[in-house]
C-alpha cells in the first residue's frame, strides 16, 4: 500500500475555486534503467490519475515515464456543494490506489 497525502481546503464557500493537492509514493520506474546486473528494470509507472466528485469525473491525467518518482498532482475545481472526492491512481503492475476525501461547502 503506497502512502498518499491529499490536501482539500477547509472553510470553502459555495462558488469558490479551490486547489486540491495530492502526493503518492511511487517509484515511477521508467523502464529505461538497468540494474547492477545489466538487465533492464521493468517499467512501473502510474499511467493514469482520475478524480471524481460524487461519481462525476472532474479531473484526469495521463502520466509518462519522464515524470519523477512520488508524483505531485494539483488541480482546481469550483466548489458548488458538499460531497465526496474519490482519487484513483492506476499503475503498470495493475495496482489501483483508491482514496476518498470530504469536501465541505458552507
Amino acid at each position: 500500500m503506497a502512502s498518499v497525502l491529499i490536501n482539500v481546503p477547509k472553510a470553502v464557500r459555495k462558488g469558490d475555486v479551490i486547489e486540491i493537492k495530492t502526493l503518492i509514493s511511487h517509484p515511477m520506474e521508467t523502464g529505461f534503467r538497468s540494474a547492477p546486473d545489466g538487465k533492464l528494470i521493468p517499467r512501473d509507472i502510474i499511467y493514469r490519475f482520475v478524480c471524481t466528485f460524487e461519481g462525476v469525473e472532474i479531473f484526469a491525467a495521463d502520466l509518462f515515464p519522464a515524470i519523477s518518482a512520488n508524483p505531485f498532482i494539483a488541480f482546481t475545481m469550483r466548489a458548488e456543494r458538499s460531497g465526496t472526492l474519490t482519487f484513483r491512481w492506476l499503475d503498470d503492475k495493475g495496482g489501483a490506489q483508491v482514496e476518498t476525501a470530504r469536501l465541505d461547502v458552507q
Partner: protein
C-alpha cells in the same frame, strides 16, 4: 598601511567566517523554496506519514510501540538539534538514526533496521520535524574529541581531486561548480528530499555524494568518520534553524 594589514587579516579568515551563516535554502530557486514551504507539496511528508504509523505500531518480542515508552512524538521536540550526541550507555557519540536502531533492537526487541532504510528515515524525519525551527546546538564537552576528529576530516584533502571539504564549503562557498552554487554546507534539513535522488536521504548520503564527487572512497554509513563529520558540521552550523524535512535540488 593599516588597510593593508586589515586586508591581510581578512584574507586569512575562512570565507564563511566573514559571511553570515546561511542555509542552502537561500540558494534555491523560488519554485523549490515554495515546495519546501508548503507541506502539502513536499514529498518528504509521505515519509512523515509513514513515520507516524511506525511510531504507534507495536513491534518485536516486547510488543511495544515507540509511543508506549515515549508518548506523543511531540515530546521529542529539541532532540534532533543535539544529535549526533554522546551516549554514556554506548560509551560514544551516536547519530539519531543509530539511536532509532538501538531502540528498535534493544527496547522493542525487533528485527534490526539498516541505516538509510525506509523505516529509519521515516522515523528520523518525523523526530526531526518536531524540532523544526529550533536552532542547531553546538557540540557539548563530552563530544569534544569527536568534534576534533570531525574537524580534522573536514580539513583533510581527499580523493583523486585532492580536495578537502573546507576548500569547497569555506574557501569557495557562493561560487559556482558546474550548474550548482557551492553552499556553505550546513546540515540544516536532514533527512531531506533531494529532487536529484527522487528520494528522502540522510546527511550521510549527502556526504557520500560529496566524497564520490572528489573521487574518494566514501565512508560507510554509521562509520566513526561519518559520525565525527556530522558532529563537526552540526557545531559549525550551530544557531541555524532546523528545516527538517527540507527539499534540496
Amino acid at each position: 598601511m593599516r588597510s593593508l594589514i586589515l586586508a591581510l587579516c581578512l584574507m586569512s579568515l575562512p570565507a564563511w567566517a566573514q559571511a553570515p551563516k546561511t542555509s542552502s535554502f537561500d540558494l534555491m530557486k523560488p519554485e523549490t523554496q515554495a515546495m519546501q514551504r508548503d507541506d502539502a507539496s513536499n514529498p518528504a511528508m509521505l515519509w512523515i506519514a509513514e513515520g507516524r504509523t511506525l511510531w504507534s505500531e507495536k513491534a518485536g518480542a516486547s510488543r511495544k510501540a515507540c509511543a508506549d515508552c515515549h508518548g506523543d512524538v511531540g515530546s521529542l521536540r529539541g532532540v534532533a538539534v543535539r544529535y549526533p550526541a554522546f551516549k554514556a550507555t554506548q560509551h560514544k557519540v551516536i547519530t539519531l538514526d543509530q539511536q532509532i536502531q538501538i531502540c528498535r533492537v534493544q527496547e522493542q526487541k525487533a528485527d534490526p533496521w539498516a541505516l538509510e532504510s525506509r523505516p529509519v528515515l521515516a522515523l528520523s524525519a518525523l523526530i526531526g520535524l518536531q524540532s523544526r525551527g529550533l536552532a542547531l546546538l553546538p557540540a557539548t564537552p563530552a563530544e569534544a574529541s569527536t568534534l576534533a576528529q570531525g574537524r580534522a576530516l573536514y580539513e583533510e584533502r581527499r580523493g583523486q581531486m585532492n580536495l578537502s571539504c573546507a576548500q569547497c564549503h569555506d574557501d569557495n562557498a557562493g561560487k559556482s561548480l558546474g550548474g550548482a552554487v557551492i553552499p556553505q554546507g550546513h546540515p540544516t534539513g536532514y533527512p531531506l528530499y533531494r529532487l536529484e535522488w527522487q528520494d528522502l536521504g540522510s546527511v550521510e548520503r549527502r556526504l557520500r555524494n560529496c566524497m564520490v564527487g572528489v573521487r574518494s572512497e566514501p565512508y560507510p554509513y554509521g562509520s566513526p568518520e561519518m559520525v565525527a563529520l556530522e558532529v563537526f558540521l552540526r557545531d559549525r552550523a550551530a544557531g541555524l534553524p532546523l528545516e527538517t524535512p527540507a527539499i534540496r535540488p
